[in-house]
């Protein structure tokens, strides 16, 4: 995916990726339901604490004023319980396989987690 705006902090970058992945998750959930299957509300895992804190009521607003209002979209999803955002440690962050080169031992564990097995 392409970066489409300048971002000031890692938290803001994570927010931006949370925004795009949450909209994809919502679409996927709709697709599953269209196929006639029932699915619980999706969980989105993120490994950045400060990004997650932005969704907890009191901390919000004051220090994140400079961040674009498009992130209100996720806030709304969380509030209406259409999506849940949870923290995940870097060791179990499965998205890492797709975004950066890894050390071989980490690659081995992560590719097993995403369902790849050696024959």
């Amino acid at each position: 995916m392409k970066q489409n705006s300048q971002l000031l902090s890692t938290a803001e970058a994570e927010l931006s990726s949370l925004e795009s992945s949450s909209s994809q998750l919502v679409r996927l959930k709709q697709l599953i339901e269209e196929c006639g299957m029932i699915s619980d509300f999706p969980v989105l895992y993120c490994n950045n604490h400060s990004a997650i804190h932005c969704f907890q009521e009191p901390a919000r607003k004051s220090r994140t004023m400079h961040i674009d209002h498009k992130h209100n979209y996720i806030h709304e999803l969380v509030k209406e319980k259409l999506i849940a955002i949870e923290h995940v440690g870097t060791k179990a962050q499965l998205a890492d396989v797709f975004i950066k080169p890894l050390m071989s031992n980490k690659l081995c564990t992560l590719r097993m987690f995403i369902g790849m097995f050696e024959l």
């Binding site: 970066q3 971002l7 000031l8 902090s9 890692t10 803001e12 970058a13 994570e14 931006s16 990726s17 949370l18 992945s21 949450s22 994809q24 998750l25 996927l28 959930k29 599953i32 006639g36 299957m37 029932i38 699915s39 619980d40 509300f41 999706p42 969980v43 989105l44 895992y45 993120c46 490994n47 950045n48 995940v88 962050q93 499965l94 998205a95 890492d96 396989v97 797709f98 975004i99 950066k100 080169p101 890894l102 050390m103 071989s104 690659l107 992560l110 590719r111 995403i114 369902g115 790849m116 097995f117 050696e118 024959l119």
Partner: protein, 165 residues
């Protein structure tokens, strides 16, 4: 033509309908399609491209000893590298094309292939060596399968991370 359903009676009805309308022969359960081998068991479905990966390695003439354990070095930072030596563009694009099809069952090489594919228009030696490294990685373990188990719960899980900042 492929068809599938979670409901066996629907499948039967569809088969009856289509055989009445057209002249078709049934091959039964899906095992092989477009270079992808598919195994369906009671526990789950597995997908692999072992034969495809082997023929690809033969096509690009890699020795059995040329093996690495990761598709990309951590220190690798590819740039446009305008001063680097030119390489055969169609060969480079052919390699990328073959590798991109392999990502169907090998998500572990997705990122490396994506990065290399960005330099397809004007590839240089540094890019070619990165692509060769991916091929060597595939050469190391060409037999991988992507396994979908049946006992998973029906909750969607997303993982999100960014390397933009």
């Amino acid at each position: 033509m492929l068809y599938g359903s979670t409901n066996q009676t629907l499948v039967q009805a569809f088969v009856e309908l289509i055989t009445r309308e057209f002249e078709v022969s049934m091959y039964g359960v899906l095992r092989y399609m477009q270079g992808i081998q598919i195994k369906q068991t009671d526990e789950g479905i597995s997908m692999s491209q072992n034969i495809y990966a082997r023929t690809m390695i033969e096509k690009f003439k890699l020795d059995a000893q040329e093996i690495v354990t990761t598709p990309m070095k951590i220190s690798t930072r590819l740039t446009a590298d305008e001063r680097g030596g030119d390489v055969n563009v169609s060969m480079y694009q052919g390699m990328i094309e073959s590798l991109q099809y392999l990502t169907v069952s090998r998500p572990d090489i997705c990122h490396a292939v994506n990065v290399c594919a960005q330099y397809q228009v004007n590839p240089k030696m540094s890019h070619l060596s990165a692509v060769r490294r991916i091929l060597k990685y595939v050469n190391g373990i060409p037999t991988f399968e992507l396994y979908y188990t049946k006992d998973t719960d029906n909750r969607l899980k997303g993982y999100c991370a960014a390397d933009w900042a």
